[in-house]
């Protein structure tokens, strides 16, 4: 891996105990992620091998690469969602502001409340209203907020997701009544409502039309002011538009594990890739 831009470092004093679910107890957290020697498995099959990568806080990092290169798998390892698939596991170390997310005794539930996720297909809870969908993270954990506090949170999160003006008059309608792009923004509002430090986005625009895609991309840039954003995308133009840094993954053949080929500032990686494989991929898609 090649890293040219200086990477801000997190306060290293935070240990394992520093994974509080309550966002108020982790002021000053940056949301810097470091991957060291990460392997991801499905049963005995090694899907991602030996990835070491720095993901800087308050920036957009894009994971690009051909299908089957393990970029989505790796993304899901960051919030420990990879392991919920039967037989799937990951090893190596992934730290968030210095705390190892895969350390002994670390509760994956606590990890996921700090590392939020937006999925490929918008997945609002169909039985919940738009309002309840935004508050879903709190409702699920039994922290139903009083109506005033809840209203404020709903409005601020929906405004963040650029959805407020479109839905403010129908907050009690089911989340499924929105269009695809609106549903995806609702899911972003829902993820933001639990106040994570990191937002993982797994091809968030792949099911959306160009206008909705543009809206989400704009949103990603804004979110990166407050969150560490990691986005997996097939769309190289999108990676070029939204990301500060890009990591290129590839796989050498069927049955082989995906590997990190090259990572660096997006402009450098696109204009002057250091590894021939990266150049081939970029040229192939753009040419």
């Amino acid at each position: 891996m090649t890293a040219t831009a200086p990477i801000p470092t997190a306060t290293p004093s935070l240990g394992l105990a520093a994974l509080p679910i309550d966002p108020d107890q982790r002021k000053g957290a940056l949301g810097q992620i470091s991957l060291r020697g990460v392997n991801c498995y499905y049963g005995s099959h090694l899907a991602v091998a030996d990835v070491s990568l720095e993901i800087p806080p308050r920036a957009v990092t894009a994971f690009i690469g051909p299908s089957g290169c393990g970029k989505s798998t790796l993304l899901r390892a960051i919030n420990r969602l990879h392991e919920v698939i039967l037989g799937a596991r990951a090893d190596g170390s992934i730290t968030l502001d210095g705390a190892n997310l895969y350390g002994n005794g670390v509760d994956p539930v606590a990890v996921r409340s700090r590392v939020g996720m937006v999925f490929q297909k918008a997945n609002p809870f169909p039985a919940m209203s738009i309002r309840d969908n935004v508050l879903a993270g709190l409702i699920i954990r039994g922290q139903r907020r009083g109506s005033k506090v809840g209203d404020d949170l709903v409005e601020s999160c929906l405004r963040r997701a650029h959805l407020w003006d479109e839905v403010k008059d129908r907050l009690r309608k089911p989340g499924g009544s929105l269009s695809g792009g609106q549903q995806q923004r609702l899911c972003i509002a829902r993820a933001v409502a639990v106040r994570p430090e990191v937002l993982l986005m797994d091809e968030p625009c792949s099911a959306l039309d160009p206008i909705s895609t543009l809206a989400i991309e704009e949103l990603m840039r804004e979110l990166a002011r407050d969150y560490t954003v990691v986005v997996v995308t097939h769309n190289m133009a999108q990676a070029g538009r939204v990301s500060d840094r890009t990591a290129f993954f590839s796989v050498s053949g069927a049955g082989q594990p995906g590997r990190l080929i090259e990572a660096g500032p997006t402009a450098d990686l696109f204009s002057a890739p250091k590894v021939p494989a990266t150049r081939d991929y970029i040229d192939g898609r753009f040419g």
Partner: protein, 283 residues
Amino acid sequence: MAVLAVLAGVLIFLAVEGGPAVFYKQGALPAHATSFWQLAGPLAFGSLWVAVIALAFAAPPAIGVALAATVYAPNQRFGRLLAAVLDLLAAVPSVVFGLWGLMILAPLMGPVDAWLGRYLPWLPFFAGPPSPTGRTVLTAGLVVAVMILPIMAAMCRETFALTPTTLMEAGLALGATRWEMVRWAVLPGARSGMVAGAMLGFGRALGETMAVAMVLSPTPFLVSVNVISSDNPATIAAFIASTFPESRGKQVGALIGLGLVLFGVSLLISVIGRRIGRKAVPA
């Protein structure tokens, strides 16, 4: 179409043969009843009461087992094994369950009934006096619960398995524990399926004949929610089965009339069930 024709045929049979029984007076009716409704009312109550108890006992384990086989299964083999065991349970004949209830469960339930009668007598269900034999409505309800468990668990399992993975992951990604995820991502979407399973189980419990007839020795015309007493209400199906051999003429008509009442009750329950099931589906 064929199903409708059979259903209509059954209904016509019940109505023609049993309909007039509604107006029968003392003498023509079994058990020396003075009117048809004096007989049918308590029996209908008994059927519903045993079915309610069975449902109350069967629903939690049915949902639990279904969750264990789908969401909580550590691997696919465990889930399949659990499903196979339940299907095996469904293959046991009703008479065998009746024997089991009578000879094994009832003696075990005797002390339970005594305990309930001693410590919870202020609840109308446990007013007692406790039956020393354990041949009570509580025991009958438990036996029927075991019988309806497989169908309910199977229905629940099917619906739980239909939950989109992406919804479950949405819950987990928000920091939900596994149970919180089940509570908010799996159960809401499965509500209509669970209601349907409960209705199927309830319908089976209403019609259950042999197990109840073997466990209970009924007291005619009794309406009581007391589940631990030796004085038990009878159920329609068990009453028909036990009275039929010694009935003739108009008495047979009266029993068929009781069948008509059971048919009506079952129909009503399934209509209500459908209502609840439909309401659960979000607009």
